[in-house]
Point group: none
Chain length 374, copies 2
């Protein structure tokens, strides 16, 4: 072996080792860990994804984007959220999403649902503003549909500009006419640059109509295991690869073109196609239905706060901004996990979603104690 | 300089200085402070507006007008309040106003709303008496309207004489036919000398129909930032001047001709066109929707108590009485602020309007412990 052959072999081995090391780092980051852009405006951290996994970072993100109270502010400035969901069959999910938004600190929380659902959702709480404007096929004749669609759109779009974020999907159901109306609402929201968090049956709608969110950087999808499976099959035309979870999520988000995806699981994985973040703080072992609705309402509030802070900040974020929707997902994920754990400590097997919602405030205060300016 | 010139100069200088002194006093009173007619019947205090700002004065007002319990009294004597509001879209606001009235100490609390709203408001609490009598355009044909209006009026006016105060507006909505009915209810209430607190969509109605409250000294308007802006633009035909807030409020109240206005903000300003009072006790930094409804229900109760006390007092108030509606506003303002602070201490960011209502009793007891005669 002469010197040049030896040198070539050395280089090749070095390349292979470096590649393996990077791959190993990526896997560690993805599967066990947590890598985020903690600092809005800390550009170097956006590109730096190899810090060790520290769950406290998720709490730091939450602290960073949660606004300090200010006595000079007035109603609405801490967030106006609207949930599009609730039909004859489902009423709990939109309630959970909307009330969670209030319990985290939003000022106003609306629900747009069908007439049947409205009476029930209203009766759950006088704190929500519930609009009985959506219609399902069973209550509309075919020849009336065009007119009803226009009416629904008119009712919803007159409010759209006032909201900081929509949550589309909790308890939406799968009625074709209802989904047609909601598709159009999503298009209008997109035209008005209103961020949209998509969950539940909203994901069923979006998976079959990807154009609704494709290329829209103000969309967040929050799929659970099954919803994620359908999304992967539809978009990447393959099976879910758990051994390569981060990379696959990154590809999915890239393919959808800028929307943020929060893949719910034992660890939550979050990607906007540029970075992958993992939140693995312990949650509760209880898997009672409704926790996803708390999450979607929370993502809406935290994302609104992160966007608000970014807009009001003096730093130049246009260069390479930390994605406020990613930050919102990280904060929502860690808060839900903390609240679920707290609720489980108190209620054990009998923990239900309402118990977790009642723990949102205490958990938030534990991470980020309320302070007031002015 | 002869004596008469010197005397003239002295008088002129004195006039200027006096004018400046008064102006300075007015500004101090308006911008930093709190000046009220604490004592019903203490005439000298009505004209004397230069005492230092003491928030405890607001608590004194509350103590002075809150009746002592008396075992000889019977149901209804501590106040019968009615809220006119609640439509297909809004049910929380009238509930908050009506339940707050009860939680402060009124004996009976009614709600007059649409059929759609009634079922829901009834479901919030069995404590309220809810009348499903109002109608919205969508449920009434044009040719039926005159008849329906008569029917609505008949249903409401048979109750009117029994109420100590109406709250018009919480969750009223803006349906033209509904507002037409409510205008007529307000006219009837005025004919019967029933005090009216106007809030929310009631202010939308009144701003466009000033005659409803113009010259009615038993009306109270409780506008928030936006509602006040519209009122100023409509009545004074200018912009809101925050640097001259008290003077502008005084002008507005004068122009409306005797109605009391409570301008809600970081400090609450209250004027009936004769005096301006400021309540600046710390409130909560949470701005969740619904707090205005607690306030309107509270103003109704405290104003009723202040009027009741005035009527039953032996002193001759006809000369120059302290305005009981102004006193009611001061008491309601300080109580809401105390209750909101207490709720915030307990619940922090997750404080919602229901939590504040739950703190009304404890806060009231803190200011004015319940005592019983007889």
């Amino acid at each position: 072996m002469n010197l040049s052959t030896s040198s070539l072999l050395f280089r090749k081995t070095h390349q292979i080792l470096r590649h393996r090391f990077r791959r190993q780092q990526f896997l560690i980051r993805s599967l066990c860990g947590y890598n985020i852009q903690t600092g809005i405006g800390k550009m170097q951290q956006i590109q730096c994804m190899d810090r060790p996994i520290v769950d406290a970072d998720a709490e730091n993100v939450l602290r960073r984007i949660t606004p300090t109270f200010d006595l000079r502010r007035h109603k609405g400035q801490a967030g106006k959220i609207a949930v599009i969901g609730g039909c004859r069959e489902y009423t709990g999910a939109p309630y959970f999403a909307a009330i969670s938004a209030l319990k985290i600190g939003a000022d106003l929380s609306h629900v747009f649902c069908t007439k049947d659902a409205a009476t029930v959702i209203k009766s759950y709480s006088p704190e929500l503003i519930v609009h009985p404007v959506l219609e399902e096929s069973y209550s509309v004749r075919d020849d009336e549909k065009a007119g009803v669609l226009d009416k629904v759109l008119a009712e919803v779009t007159k409010w759209l500009g006032r909201f900081d974020c929509l949550v589309v999907g909790p308890g939406l159901g799968r009625d074709p006419f209802l989904l047609e109306c909601v598709s159009e609402i999503m298009r209008r929201a997109r035209q008005s640059n209103v961020p949209i968090v998509v969950d539940g049956d909203g994901l069923f709608l979006v998976t079959n109509n990807l154009d609704l969110v494709k290329g829209y950087s103000l969309a967040v999808l929050t799929p659970n295991v099954n919803e994620y499976k359908r999304l992967i099959e539809q978009v990447l035309e393959c099976e879910v690869k758990d051994e390569d979870a981060s990379e696959q999520l990154l590809s999915l988000a890239k393919k959808i073109g800028g929307a943020t995806i929060l893949r719910k699981g034992s660890s939550d994985l979050i990607s906007d196609g540029k970075t992958v973040s993992v939140v693995s703080v312990h949650g509760s072992p209880r898997r009672c239905g409704g926790q996803g609705d708390i999450l979607s309402g929370s993502v809406a509030v935290f994302s609104s706060w992160a966007r608000q802070q970014m807009i009001s900040s003096e730093e130049d974020y246009n260069k390479r901004p930390a994605n406020p929707l990613v930050l919102g997902c990280i904060a929502a994920s860690v808060l839900l996990r903390k609240a679920a754990t707290l609720a489980f400590d108190k209620k054990k097997r009998s923990t239900i979603t309402g118990d977790i919602i009642e723990c949102l405030g205490e958990s938030l205060e534990g991470i980020c104690p309320a302070r007031t300016l002015g």
